[in-house]
C-alpha cells in the first residue's frame, strides 16, 4: 500500500451534545475501524454503568474528569483516524455560545467544518453562529450534516427544507464550498456507509466526501511569503560561511534563483539554495519548513519576511481586523498589548471598536464598546512598527494575529486582517 500521496485533512465539528456531535465522531471512528478493543471495552463498561442500551458511541469522545462527570465538552479535543486515502485530524469543539473561543481555535487550522443540524429542529440560531464562525475563519469547505434523519422518517422533504433555509442565510456569508448530507449518526446512515433508507440521496456519504474533496488549493500557492523564524549559523567545518534563514513557507512557491525582497528593510537579493528535511531542493512551497541562503550577505532577523520581488504584502502600522475576544478580562482600548503576526512580534494598541457583532442575530452593534469573552468585533489596531500583512481571505497565515496581555502573558484575542 503506497501512502505517498495521502494528504492530511483537518476538520472541525461544531454542535452540542444534543445535535449528536459526539455520536457522529464516535460513529466515524467506529465504522472506520479506528477504535481499539481496549477503548471499546472501556466504553462498553461505562455504557453499562450508566444504564445505556448497547454501546454509547458518544463516550468515545469523553476526555477530562469534569467532562465525563458533566457529559459536556469543555475544551477542544483532538482525535485522529486514517483511511486508505487520507489521514484525518478532528478538532472536536464544544458548540455552546460561551465556547465561541474554542470553536474559533478549532476552526483556525481546519480545512473543513462539519456543521450539525438536528433534522427535527432545522436551522436554529446556533446553526447560524456556527456558519458565521466558519466564514469568519475562512474554513475552505463547509459540510452541513442534517442529523437524526431516522427521527423524521428519512424524509427528503425535511432535508430539502433545511437545505433551503441554510442556503438562504449563508448566501450573505463568504463561504466558498458548502455541501449538504442527510445522515443518522446513531444508525450510521451516510456517515461511512451509504444509507439504504435514503436512496433519494445520490451524493457521497460523509467519509467519502472527506476523503476525496480537493484540498491542495486551501493554501495560497501564488504569493510567496517566507517569514524568517530563526537564523542558522553553524560555525562548523564545511559550513563556516553558511548563513541559513529558517522558517515555514506561509504562501506560494520559492525557487533557487528567484529575485527576492527582504521586508521591511527592502534589501534585494537572489535565492542561492534551499534546504529541506530531505536535502537540498530547487523549489519549495507552503507549508514546508525549510531554510534558504541568499546570494548577498544582508542583515536579516527573526520577524523579517522574504517575498518575491514585485509581489509584496503591505507593510503597515494600521490594521483593520475582525477580533475575537478570548479572555474574561475585557478589551481595554488604548492599552498596550503584544501583537504576534507570523514570527513577528510588536506592541499594539486597540484604537477603535468599529462595531460589535450580535452573535445571535449576526447584526452589527455600534453603540456598545464593551468587548468581553467570546465577543466578536471589528476594530482598528495600531502597531509600533510595521507588520507585513495580507488580507486574511487571501492568506490565513499572513493575515492572522493574536494579542497577548503583557500583565498576564495570556493570549486574549485572535484577529483576522480585513
Amino acid at each position: 500500500m503506497s501512502l505517498d500521496n495521502n494528504q492530511l485533512l483537518r476538520f472541525t465539528t461544531a454542535g452540542s451534545v444534543d445535535d449528536g456531535k459526539s455520536t457522529l465522531i464516535g460513529r466515524l471512528l467506529y465504522d472506520s475501524k479506528s477504535i481499539f478493543e481496549d477503548q471499546l471495552e472501556a466504553v462498553e463498561n461505562t455504557s453499562r454503568k450508566k444504564g445505556h442500551d448497547g454501546v454509547d458511541l458518544a463516550l468515545f469522545t469523553d476526555g477530562l474528569r469534569d467532562e465525563r462527570a458533566q457529559g459536556i465538552t469543555i475544551d477542544v479535543a483532538y482525535r485522529y483516524f486514517t483511511t486508505p486515502r487520507r489521514k484525518f485530524i478532528i478538532a472536536d469543539t464544544p458548540g455552546h455560545i460561551q465556547y465561541t473561543r474554542n470553536m474559533v481555535t478549532g476552526a483556525s487550522t481546519a480545512n473543513a467544518a462539519i456543521i450539525l443540524i438536528d433534522a427535527r429542529h432545522g436551522v436554529i440560531e446556533q446553526t447560524k453562529r456556527h456558519a458565521f464562525i466558519a466564514s469568519l475563519l475562512q474554513i475552505p469547505h463547509v459540510i452541513v450534516c442534517v442529523n437524526k434523519m431516522d427521527l423524521v422518517d428519512f424524509s427528503p422533504a425535511v432535508f430539502e427544507k433545511i437545505v433551503g433555509e441554510f442556503e438562504e442565510f449563508a448566501s450573505k456569508m463568504l463561504i466558498m464550498d458548502i455541501r449538504f448530507i442527510p445522515i443518522s449518526a446513531l444508525l450510521g446512515d451516510n456517515v461511512v456507509n451509504r444509507s439504504v433508507n435514503m436512496d433519494w440521496y445520490a451524493d457521497a456519504p460523509l467519509l467519502h466526501t472527506l476523503e476525496t474533496m480537493h484540498i491542495s488549493s486551501d493554501i495560497n500557492k501564488v504569493d510567496m511569503r517566507f517569514p524568517v523564524q530563526s537564523i542558522l549559523r553553524p560555525q562548523r567545518d564545511h559550513f563556516r560561511d553558511f548563513r541559513g534563514y529558517a522558517g515555514r513557507i506561509a504562501g506560494g512557491v520559492i525557487r533557487v534563483g528567484d529575485n527576492v525582497t527582504v521586508m521591511p528593510s527592502g534589501f534585494k537579493s537572489k535565492v542561492k539554495s534551499i534546504q529541506a528535511p530531505a536535502g537540498n531542493l530547487e523549489e519549495a512551497f507552503a507549508p514546508m519548513s525549510i531554510s534558504v541562503t541568499l546570494d548577498d550577505d544582508i542583515d536579516i532577523s527573526r520577524g523579517d519576511m522574504i517575498v518575491r520581488e514585485n509581489n509584496n504584502p503591505s507593510a503597515t502600522q494600521d490594521l483593520e481586523v475582525m477580533l475575537c475576544w478570548l479572555h474574561n478580562k475585557s478589551a481595554r482600548p488604548r492599552t498596550k498589548y503584544t501583537i504576534r503576526h507570523t514570527t513577528n512580534e510588536q506592541k499594539a494598541m486597540i484604537r477603535e471598536i468599529i462595531y460589535k457583532i450580535d452573535i445571535n442575530t449576526l447584526g452589527r452593534i455600534t453603540d456598545d464598546n464593551e468587548i468581553g469573552m467570546n465577543d466578536i468585533c471589528k476594530a482598528k489596531i495600531r502597531t509600533t512598527k510595521p507588520l507585513m500583512v495580507d488580507p486574511y481571505r487571501v492568506n490565513r497565515s499572513t493575515g492572522s494575529v493574536i494579542l497577548i496581555d503583557e500583565s498576564t502573558n495570556e493570549t486574549v484575542a485572535a484577529g483576522m486582517i480585513v
Binding site: 476526555g63 473561543r101 483556525s108 542558522l232 560555525q235 492572522s400
Partner: protein, 301 residues
Amino acid sequence: MSKYFLNYLEELEAEAIYVLREVWAQFQNPVILFSGGKDSIVLTHLAKKAFFPSKIPFALMHIDTGHNFPETIAFRDQLIDSLGARLIVGSVEDSINQGRVAEEQGKNATRNALQITTLLDAIEENQIDCAIGGGRRDEEKARAKERFFSHRDDFGQWDPKNQRPELWNLFNGKHFEGEHFRVFPISNWTEMDVWNYIRREKIEIPSLYMAHERDVVWRNNSWIPTSDFLSINEDEAIFNKRVRFRTLGDITITGGIESEADTLEKIVQEVAAMRHTERGNRTDDKRSETAMEDRKKQGYF
C-alpha cells in the same frame, strides 16, 4: 518536483520542525525530555533536521527511575555521543535517598509517579524554561486536550480547564520567572505515523522494539520482563517468550507483546493490524479512568 502538496507525513514533519524552531526562538534554556523510547528518538531526529547544519541547540534530559532496560541506557549514551549533545540526568533514586519521595509499597509498586518530583526538581535546578516532550494526543484522553505549547505554573502544575487558546500556528510561550512550558512537537502524530516515519527515515531504535527472546511473567494482561526490580509472586511462573515492546518505560511496568516482528517492515504491518492501544500494556495508566489526567495535572510528562 511535480506536485505542490505535502503528503501527511511530510506535513507532520514540517509542523514539528516549525514548533522546534519556535521553541529555540522563544525560550532561553530548553531541553528535550529523552526517555530512550521511540517518540523521544523521533523528536531528537526532528531536532537534528530542524537545525541542520547546526548542532541540536538543546540538551537532552533523562528522568532515570533506576529501573531501566539496560538496552535503553546503552542506546541513550551512544546517541548522545553521536549528537555531541549534553545529557542531564534526573535520578529518582537520588530523590528517594534524599527523602524527597518515598518508594511505593506492595506488589504493584512502581516508581512511575515518583518521576514527577524528580522531573520538577531537575527543571528547577537546571533553570529550564521549556521541556520538549514526545507526548502525542492520540495516546490518551487527557493528552488529547494538550496544546503544542502547554503552560506550567511555578509548581509545575497543568490546569487543563484554563489553557491558553492556540490559534493558527501562533504559539505563545510567554511566562513569568519560575514557570515553564512543556512543548509537544509531535502532538498530531499517531503511533502508526511514528512507525512509518521511523521506517521512512531509517531511524535507529533500541532492539527492545524488535521481537526477541526474553524471560517474562504474565501480569495485568501483558508479559512483564523479569529483572532485579521485579518481585515474582508465588503464583506466577516465568516463561521464555518471543516478545517485543510497543512502548518503553520503567522495566517494572512495561509489558511486552508476543510477536515475530523483527524488522521495521514487519513492525509497521503488525501495528497496522493492532486492535489494542499501545498504552494498553502500561499498568501506570490502568489505575483509574483518569490516571493520566491526575498525574499530568501534578506535572507528569
